[in-house]
Structures are given as structure tokens and as C-alpha cells.
Symmetry: C2
Subunit: 223 residues, 2 copies
């Protein structure tokens, strides 16, 4: 084992910083879904060249928060019913697959910890924090598949989902129901801990379906 184990030098270019900055602004709701990112405006505002912004936008595309349209530039993704359904469908497949597998010790500890974080968060009534911890719980479930590639993929799905939830909860502050959330997650956790994969899968499935439907309802009720 090297004395420099794990040390990684990360230099970041201007384009990467612009991309990171734009990403945080987007998830914070500074850009509405469907809105365009105008290159010249961003360039002059940040004091960088337009080329650099164009590159930043391409990097942003990797995170899935924007898509690039020819002659229109970067457009912030927006939650259509189809996309929300596809998102939740993917979640349901991955998470039920994960809990269906025999769970081993390390993840169970992590999952229980994630649940306890959720209990704390629920008490705080801080919606953003609840969402954050909630999604961490589910990422922990997926991590039981022991596949880094799938973990990365799932993390990307959650970035998207978190953005949608942020956007939607701005218009419906009563989105989260802490008690239901705790109950549903506890059911999942306990089914896994008691070594009942089938029950766990069923709880995961209905939990995700319920949530997906709720998001879709909020989405419909908006316009």
C-alpha cells in the first residue's frame, strides 16, 4: 500500500468550473425547466469566452441536466409525464432487483444508518433534507447490487429526479408526508433485515409506484 494511497490531484479548467456552477444553479431552480442557457449572456456575466461556455454546456450534458438542441443551444430538461414514468420504472427495476438478492452485512448496516438519518431528517421538517436522505436510502439499496457502473447510472437518475422534485415542490410545499415516508422505508428495511427478499421487493415496488404516481399527479395539477 502506497503512502500516497487514494491521493488524486484534480485540476479543474474554467470550463469545468462553469459547468459545475451552472449545474448547481440549475438544481437550485435558478433556471426553469425548458429554458435556454444563452451562451453570450453567461460568458459575459462570468467573464469567460463564449467558447468556454459552449464547452461547459457540453460537460453539463454529461450530468443529464440539459440537452443540446441544434440551433437552440442548451435547454434545461423538464419533467414530462413520460420521462417521470421512465425514471420511476428504472428505479423500480433496479431496486427490486437489489433487494431480491440476498443482502450481506455491510450494506445492511449502511441501510439501517440511512433509515435512521431519515428519521432525523423527518423530525426537522426540512423538505430538501428529507428528499436528500430519502434518495440516499434508495441509492444504498441499489448499492447492494455491488456494481459501480449501476451505482453511477442510478446516481445520474437521482440527479434528474432531485431536480424534478425541487422544481415541483417549489409549487407544492406540502409534497412530503414525513410519517408515510418513515413507515414505508421502515417496512422495506425490516423485510430485508428479516431475510424476506420477496416481501422487501413488494414493499419497494409499491413504495416507488406510490411515489411515482404522486409526482405525476403534482405534475398534472400544475398546468
Amino acid at each position: 500500500m502506497s503512502a500516497l494511497e487514494g491521493l488524486i490531484v484534480t485540476r479543474s479548467t474554467a470550463a469545468q468550473q462553469v459547468a459545475a456552477g451552472l449545474a448547481s444553479r440549475i438544481v437550485a431552480g435558478a433556471f426553469a425547466p425548458g429554458s435556454r442557457l444563452r451562451e453570450s449572456a453567461i460568458a459575459t456575466e462570468l467573464g469567460v469566452a463564449r467558447n468556454t461556455v459552449r464547452e461547459a454546456v457540453r460537460i453539463l450534458e454529461l450530468s443529464g441536466l440539459v440537452r443540446h438542441e441544434v440551433n437552440r443551444g442548451a435547454v434545461v430538461i423538464s419533467p414530462t409525464p413520460e420521462k417521470v414514468e421512465e425514471l420511476y420504472a428504472a428505479r423500480e427495476r433496479l431496486e427490486t432487483a437489489a433487494v431480491s438478492r440476498a443482502a450481506e452485512a455491510p450494506e445492511l448496516d449502511a441501510l439501517r444508518k440511512a433509515y435512521e438519518d431519515l428519521v432525523d431528517a423527518a423530525a426537522s421538517h426540512d423538505v430538501l433534507r428529507i428528499v436528500d436522505v430519502d434518495l440516499t436510502f434508495h441509492a444504498t439499496i441499489v448499492s447492494m447490487l455491488h456494481s459501480s457502473r449501476i451505482d453511477e447510472f442510478y446516481a445520474g437518475l437521482l440527479v434528474e429526479l432531485r431536480f424534478y422534485l425541487t422544481v415541483l415542490s417549489l409549487e407544492d410545499r406540502e409534497f412530503e408526508h414525513p410519517d408515510d415516508i418513515l413507515t414505508e422505508h421502515r417496512e422495506i428495511l425490516e423485510a430485508i433485515e428479516s431475510g424476506d427478499p420477496a416481501a422487501a421487493a413488494q414493499h419497494v415496488r409499491s413504495h416507488i409506484e406510490r411515489n411515482g404516481k404522486r409526482v405525476l399527479e403534482i405534475l398534472h395539477g400544475r398546468d
Copy 2:
């Protein structure tokens, strides 16, 4: 149903064309794994500006064939043992999850057709075609999860894998063993068709593990 159902106008920019061209050259083996894509050289050779090539490279990154390193530019991905293992692990998780679910009619037809294509391809002794049809069979398995997002993710994994296989089989022409391939795929297909998800999952698991190990051996035997 509109008279223009499904019609999509796709204009492509120079950068997109450059990206597509580079992608096809890379998968064809024109750039060795680990080699750098020099911007100026590509720009002058293709008669486009360097900026355009830089953008093309960022687009290429979306396909996973290159990664961008600061001050070194675009580097063609290369098959390290870790990456190959992660790739096969992800495949194993997704495919076993897919066959574990009750399969419905439409996919079974598609899967049987994919198998018959494989029989044809095996007879041709055309390695590239065999690989192609083989991977299509597995993509069809994953499609039984009915998740477009997962299908896209899996397609990305296969792009990577196909590249690795192309690169490796250039050095080991005897990589494919048509008879074994047919046997293993037939076992999977028949287990699914006979409604035995557990057996199907076991066949998928051992098939993928066997293949992963073989690729790792070829990888080790190279250097």
C-alpha cells in the same frame, strides 16, 4: 394518430458529424486504447476548426468511448481488468434481474429470433457478426425489464464492451467458439421459454461469468 407519426427532422452540425466519424473510427480500431486524439491534427485533416473538434470530442464523451483529461485532451478508453470486471458485473446484475421477472410474449418472440440470428451468424464464422448478434441477444434479454432508461444504459455498456472485444480479438482471432456460444444461449432461451426464471438466471449468470473470465484471460495474456 398523426400523418407525420414518428417523423423527426435531424439536422446535424459539423461537430456531431465529426463525433460520429471519430466514434466509428475508434470502434473500428483506428485508434488504439489509451491513445490521444490530437485536436489540431484532426481539425486540419477534416477541414474544420479546432474548436469544432473540441466540441466533437465532448460529444464523443457522451458515448463513453473517450474520456477527457485536463491538459491531455481526449484519450481512448482502454480495457483494464477492473473496468472489464465492472462491465461484466453490471451485465450480470441487469440480465439476471431481467430473466428473473416473468417474461411476456412479445419479448419471447424477439429473443427466439435473436437466437436464430445467432445460429445463422455462427454458421458464417464471421467473428464481428457473431459478436454483434450475441450482444443483440443480451440487449433483448435486458429489454424484458421494460425500462427505456435501462435499455439506453445497457446499450452504452455494450458499445464499450464491443470496443474491447474488437480490440482484443484483433490479437486473438480464435476468441469466439461458435458451438459453446450456441449451447449457452440456447440454454438461457429454453429456460425462459419453459417458464423457469431461476434456471434462466443461473444460466445467464454462469454464461456471463464465463465470458468475463475469458476476456480477462485474453487481457492478461496480452502483455
